[in-house]
Each structure stands twice: as C-alpha cells, then as structure tokens.
C-alpha cells in the first residue's frame, strides 16, 4: 500500500514535470550546439552535462572560457549562477531532510529549477504527505526534464558545427537567459536586484578577469536583500 501511493505520487510528479520538457529540450540542445561550436568533443560535452546538470551554469562556463577568462573566474562565476540551487536545497530540507542519506544525495543531484518549483508547491499545499511520497513526487517531476535535457544535449552536440553562422546563435544565450529571468521578477526586490546588477555590470565591464560579473552579481544580491528588508519594515512584504 505504502509502495503504491509512493508510486502514484511519482506519476503525479511526472505529469506536473512533463510540460517542462518544452524548456529543458531546446535549452539542452542549445548547450549541445554551443559546446560543439566552442570546440568541445562529444564525450566532454556529455560528461559536463551529466555531472553538472545545470544548464545556466554550463552555458556561463562555456561563455567565459570562450572569453579566455582564468579558470578560477570561470568556476567562481558558474558556481555563482548555481547559488540558487543552494537556496532550493535549503527550502526543500524541511520536507525531505528526514529521508535516508542516499536518497538525499540523489535528490541533491536532481535539484533543478523545474523539480524545485513543482515540488515546493505540492509539498506546501499537501503538508500531510509522507517522506516517501514526497521523494516519489520529486523524482517524478525531474524524470521527464532530465530525459529531455540529456537526449537533446546529445542531439545538439551531434548537430553542432553544422548550424550556419547566419542563425546568429551567438545571441541564443542572452535571449534564453532573459526569458528565464523575467518571470522570476515577482517582487520589487527582485526588480531592484536585477536593475542594480545590470547597472553595475555596465559600469564594471572594464574590470580584468571578467570580475565585473561577480561584482555585479553580488551588488544585485545585496540590493535585493536590502530592498526586501525595507519592504518588510513597511509591512509590504508578502
């Protein structure tokens, strides 16, 4: 019985996660194409995508490597992009923290925007779920996303260099990232964070080693957090 309800929550998660294949598929393909165009071999692209499993960070690393940024800066900047995953991990901990260690390690690897977004909504609206049901749901949400991500990265990597320059793929990354970020601008604190980040990125563009990215990112985070405190004091934070 316990198994069958866990199982049914897996499939609930699968259904909720399935629409995100439409995002993960093209995004994976974009990474595969850009990685191949940047000169990565098929194995390198696939190992990167399978071990890191975070598209935005992978694209950031690729972009900075092409700009010949020092390795330390490449790592620091790409991991900064992934700091939001630490936030997801923190937010999921009250719901999944009681699961066995091996399951938590597995869930950690599978924490991405989509699995987090689906799961946190479900966990908060159904507080009585057991931990196995939650794990089942979480795993369900990420199954279609991960499948689309891996397979379309492979397809993109295989297509790779065959894509002509007239497709202006140089601008696929900015468009994809802007499209990802704008729906996240839920509060004025998020808007302030983004505006400060843009302003500082322009002012700090001349810094060596692509440090402008780190400086602008930190400035944006601090500005967002400050704005949140101001809103809380005024009772405007919901």
């Amino acid at each position: 019985m316990a198994f069958s309800t866990t199982n049914s929550y897996y499939w609930k998660g699968f259904r909720d996660g399935a629409p995100f294949m439409l995002v993960a598929g093209p995004f994976g393909m974009l990474f595969g194409v850009l990685a191949t165009e940047a000169g990565l071999k098929l194995t390198e692209t696939l190992v990167l995508t399978a071990t890191v499993f975070a598209g935005a960070a992978q694209l950031t690393a690729l972009q900075l490597m092409q700009e010949n940024a020092p390795t330390f800066i490449v790592l620091a900047s790409a991991l900064a992009v992934n700091l939001r995953l630490a936030m997801y991990s923190a937010s999921l901990t009250p719901f999944l923290g009681g699961a066995p260690m091996w399951q938590r390690a597995f869930a950690a690897y599978l924490t991405v925007d989509q699995s987090y977004a689906c799961s946190i909504v479900r966990f908060e609206t159904e507080p009585d779920l057991t931990i196995p049901q939650r794990m089942g749901y979480f795993l369900g949400t990420v199954t279609p996303v991960a499948t689309a991500w891996y397979s379309f990265t492979l397809i993109g990597a295989l297509l790779g260099a065959r894509i002509p320059e007239s497709w202006a793929l140089d601008f696929a990354l900015p468009i994809a990232f802007l499209a990802m970020v704008t729906p996240m601008l839920r509060t004025s604190a998020h808007v302030v964070a983004a505006l400060v980040s843009i302003t500082v990125a322009l002012l700090a563009a001349g810094l060596p080693y692509n440090l402008g990215l780190m400086v602008a990112g930190l400035a944006g985070m601090i500005a967002g957090a400050r704005m949140e405190l101001v809103l809380r004091k005024k009772g405007l934070w919901t």
């Binding site: 938590r104 140089d170 601008f171 602008a216």
Partner: protein, 113 residues
C-alpha cells in the same frame, strides 16, 4: 563555419568540468544533506533568494550591449530582440513565449536591415 581545430586546452577544460561538477553538487547537497532539519540564518536565505535575478542579468547585459558578433558595436537587431524578450517575459510570465518573441525579432530585423 570553418571547423574548429583549437577547442580548449584539455587540462583547463577538465579542471572546469570537475570543479563545476563537485561544486554544483556541494551547493545542492549542503542544506538537504548536511544541515538536515536545523534552521538556517535569515540573512543567508535572504541573499540567496536574489542570486538568479542578480547573476544572470549581469552575465547577459554586456553580451547585449557589446555583442561579439558585431565586434562589440551596439547592434539594433540584438538590442531590440533583448528588449522584446524581456517585455514578453514580463507580460506573459512564459519562458517559451519570450524566447520565441525574442528570436522572431532578431531574425526579422537581421533579415530586414
């Protein structure tokens, strides 16, 4: 496109891959694996909340204003494509709609201009 011979230096590339793999896992594991059920400081969560909306615009802005494809000169199709992507993203809250609108703007203007 001419076939790329160069690629990246293997040592650099594998250092980046290994570092990113370990680092990304550590970031995901730190709370759920290590902190468990203990509470976390508010100030930390408050800053982490804004990472995505702070870091990604910082990465994109220079690429929009000084695109490499034009040798760093401000480029009307790319600038407008970025603005349309943001506009549609804000209006619809839909990632795919924003991507398609931005791509359509870019291709339309590259074709016309």
């Amino acid at each position: 496109m001419t076939p790329e011979q160069a690629g990246f230096d293997p040592v650099t590339l594998w250092t980046v891959i290994a570092g990113l793999a370990v680092g990304s896992f550590a970031l995901r594991f730190v709370f759920i694996g290590l902190v468990g059920d203990r509470p976390m400081p508010d100030w930390l969560l408050r800053h982490l909340r804004y990472t995505a909306v702070a870091i990604l615009p910082a990465l994109v802005t220079p690429l929009v204003v000084w695109p490499k494809a034009t040798g760093g000169a401000l480029d009307l199709p790319r600038l407008l494509a970025a603005l349309v992507t943001v506009g549609v993203g804000l209006a619809t809250k839909n990632v795919l709609a924003a991507i398609f609108a931005g791509a359509a703007t870019l291709y339309g203007l590259l074709y016309l201009l």
